[in-house]
């Protein structure tokens, strides 16, 4: 029933091209409102940062709003706003993206400004110092004020070791403090080029119309042979169960977190990574999942419990489990209960009914996703940034339908092993 409900036209409307200078163009038509989402994605993220310069990819993302000769003095955001647009940018391990949402008529102006700052950024020390303060405040808000985020940083180091995924995307505080305009410009000149970028537009536009605009605004920018990321170090196996604890005087109750080293769509292929997604769903998505049923409803050892997988990365992804013990339940009791749920899944496998529920859920989410043009642009852009081309994104529903119980069970056996995991506890600081 659902198979036919996926809006075929919407999928067939997605097209992609490559400009002569190597820039990828992805267009996702949606004519329901006279609005477009314009995004430019670069295949560079925190994982490309040189040693000692953690945070430079994200810092540069902030500095990209400072100005060029044509659009000086922080005018970028003001011009977007004056034209009725909303814009921002974000940085991840594998990509950095800039976007504006505007009425269709303003798209050429957005493209002109985005193309301009791809190669013409100007920075001065006056820009650097306050903006570095902004980034340090961002780190204070998102990390240093969040006991759970501090635990997460420690666990990620333990999971990925020397691989750059072990570093926080925002960077380590002591390294952010030393970043300057020279670091930013060096990183910018190396990686910001059309042959390392994708233009993604979703909304009220047709492919041929966008292609003409793309050629006009981005087509003239010279490619840069250096703008290709280096091969990254292999992620080493963990080898033995690792435990990390973070005691924090602000923490009000213990929280359990576990990470297993897994794979990603790019590192292992669409099929194996989709089996990992489905495994995490069955284990811990929502109130019908195994972890929630067992820990929260039946045994009443937790107030919340769940699992997730991150598979949209260039290099190996991860599976996570979290739980908060119910008042009076000892951490070791909760952890034993979690281990038992995992062991049962690994030993006895999963049910057809569970597979069906996950498949239906994914296909429904796919339909729901077509209501939101910004999300569509995000999905195709983030996939491109982590090495997955539009044709593979469009193939995903098929992959979801064909993934078998056996594949899900075999990924459970492969990844849900203690010696492939980092277990973390956030603990209220012990009383002095």
């Amino acid at each position: 029933m659902l198979e036919t409900a996926v809006p075929v036209q919407a999928q067939e409307g997605v097209e992609s091209f490559t400009l002569d200078n190597g820039m990828e163009v992805i267009v996702i038509p949606d004519h329901r409102a006279p609005v477009v989402t314009h995004m430019v994605w670069y295949r560079v993220g925190s994982a490309e940062e040189p040693a000692g310069k953690s945070g430079i990819a994200h810092f540069l993302e902030h500095l990209m709003f400072k100005g060029t000769e044509k659009v000086p003095g922080g005018e970028f955001s003001h011009i977007v706003a004056r034209n009725g647009g909303k814009g921002n940018a974000f940085t991840s391990y594998d990509y950095t993206a800039y976007f504006q949402r505007v009425a269709k008529e303003q798209l050429p102006l957005m493209m002109e400004m985005e193309a301009d700052r791809m190669t013409n950024l100007k920075l001065s020390l006056e820009d650097i110092i306050p903006e570095r303060g902004v980034v340090l405040e961002e780190r204070r808000t998102r990390v240093e004020s969040q006991p759970l985020a501090l635990l997460g940083e420690k666990m990620t180091v333990a999971l990925y070791g020397e691989h750059p995924y072990g570093r926080p995307i925002i960077g380590w505080r002591d390294e952010i403090e030393t970043l300057d305009d020279g670091d930013a410009l060096q990183f910018y000149r190396r990686f910001y080029a059309p042959n390392n970028a994708a233009l993604v537009v979703a909304g009220d536009i047709e492919p041929d119309e966008l292609l003409e605009l793309a050629k006009a605004y981005y087509g003239g920018i010279k490619p840069n042979k250096q703008a290709v990321r280096d091969k990254r170090p292999e992620i080493s196996e963990i080898g033995e169960p690792v435990r990390v604890a973070h005691e924090d005087e602000r923490a009000q109750q213990p929280v359990f977190q576990r990470l297993y080293l897994a794979q990603s769509y790019h590192s292992a292929g669409l099929e194996p990574a989709t089996a990992i997604d489905m495994l995490a769903e069955i284990l811990g998505a929502g109130t019908t999942s195994r972890l929630y049923r067992a820990l929260v409803v039946e045994q009443k050892v937790a107030v919340s419990a769940g699992a997730w997988a991150t598979t949209d990365l260039l290099d190996r992804g991860r599976i996570g489990i979290y739980a908060i013990p119910r008042e009076g339940v000892k951490p070791e009791t909760l952890e034993a209960a979690i281990d038992a749920v995992v062991a049962e899944l690994v030993d006895k496998g999963v049910e057809d009914e569970e597979m069906e529920r996950v498949r239906r859920g994914y296909l429904a989410d796919l339909i729901y996703g077509w209501d939101d043009q910004q999300q569509q642009a995000y999905v195709f852009g983030a996939s491109w940034g982590s090495g997955i081309l539009p044709r593979d994104v469009l193939r995903w529903p098929e992959v979801v339908r064909s993934t078998t119980r056996a594949q899900v069970v075999s990924s459970a056996r492969e990844y849900l092993r203690a010696e492939n995991s980092v277990t973390g506890w956030l603990l209220p600081a012990s009383q002095p």
Binding site: R32, G84, Q252, E327
Partner: protein, 416 residues
Amino acid sequence: MEIQRIATPSGIEAWLVEDHRLPIVFVEIFWRAGSSSETDGLDGLAYMLSGMLDEGAGDIDSEAFQKRLADLNIDLEFNASKDFFSARIKTLEENLDEAIELLALALTRPRFDEEALERVRAQILASLKQSLQNPEIIASRAWFAAAFADHPYARTTRGTAETVQAIQADDLRDWMSRALARDNIGVTVVGDVTPERLEQLLEKALAGLPQKAKVATPEAAAFQAPGHVEVIEYPNPQSLIQFGHDGITRDDPDFIAAYVMNHVLGGSVLVSRLGEEVREKRGLAYSVYSYLYPLDHASLFAGSLATENARAGEALKQVRLELARMQKEGVSQKELDDAKAYLVGSYPLRFDSNEKIALQLSYIQREELGIDYIDRRNALIESVTRDDVFRAAQRLLDPEKLLVVIVGEPELSGAP
């Protein structure tokens, strides 16, 4: 976009935007009764009810109810705020009938089984504890407690550990039967459904509700703590500063002018005076903003920022300076033109998905702005003059009157 008005035989009115291009239906329902109408001593009742309504109804127990929603990929959510209780559905068209049936069952025959009630209670108690490590929640609670003293607006939607412990299934039933009625309801539906079908479904789902709501309407709430500064010591490297004072009601003739004024002052961190002075020039904060917050029985002007402890005094000083400057000078013609261009030009961005359309229409219903508001709204913004903004700033802003709550270990020397 055409908004149709639907009326069911039992007198329920709904707004419908029919759109068959995607097989999805969004439903937004609200009742004009929220945590401010709770029974005394049972703070958090409405919020707990919102957590209990999807925990089983009629012959379907909690597990079966959750499984049914999951199997049919229906998102059914209940929520409570100070003034409203709400229900929201997102469903595929093919499951709409079943989604409405589950809603009807939840609204008319909720089970409130002991097991589910204790589980949800434990979850709320844990979240209350968790919120003690969230500077924003700590600040917001203290701010409302000081601002509204004995008025129900002073309490938090989630209640306190003590009141949450006290709530029983009969309390939920009692409040629900008085709060969720047909004469205080608003319904918006957007998506793949015809008016005929919708009328039938709504009648089935909502005709069983009592005709009249019987909850106490709170009195008008006066702002109680002008000029008060409260520091809550908290071991954090950053100070969270929440500031504000009384505001302007949604139906005040100066509301739109005040809204434009606030946009220039602190409506967006990348493009506003506060953003420019606090973030861009001085690097004092990642996020800083201000907003108008009209409630049903009070109105507020508020804002927030977070900065390292050592610079808390400096950041707060900048906020006061900007309020004073706005109060004294108003806005320039260029600022006004830019603000209007943004507010008018970006309005269509709020309607580019059916989910957003449903949210917007529901908001327009709640604020009683009229079914034609979308067509009138940009002209209201366009007509604002510099004099209007100046008058609104004079009426609204007063840096001396700010109630400020700071959570952290702030150094305030140098602050006025």
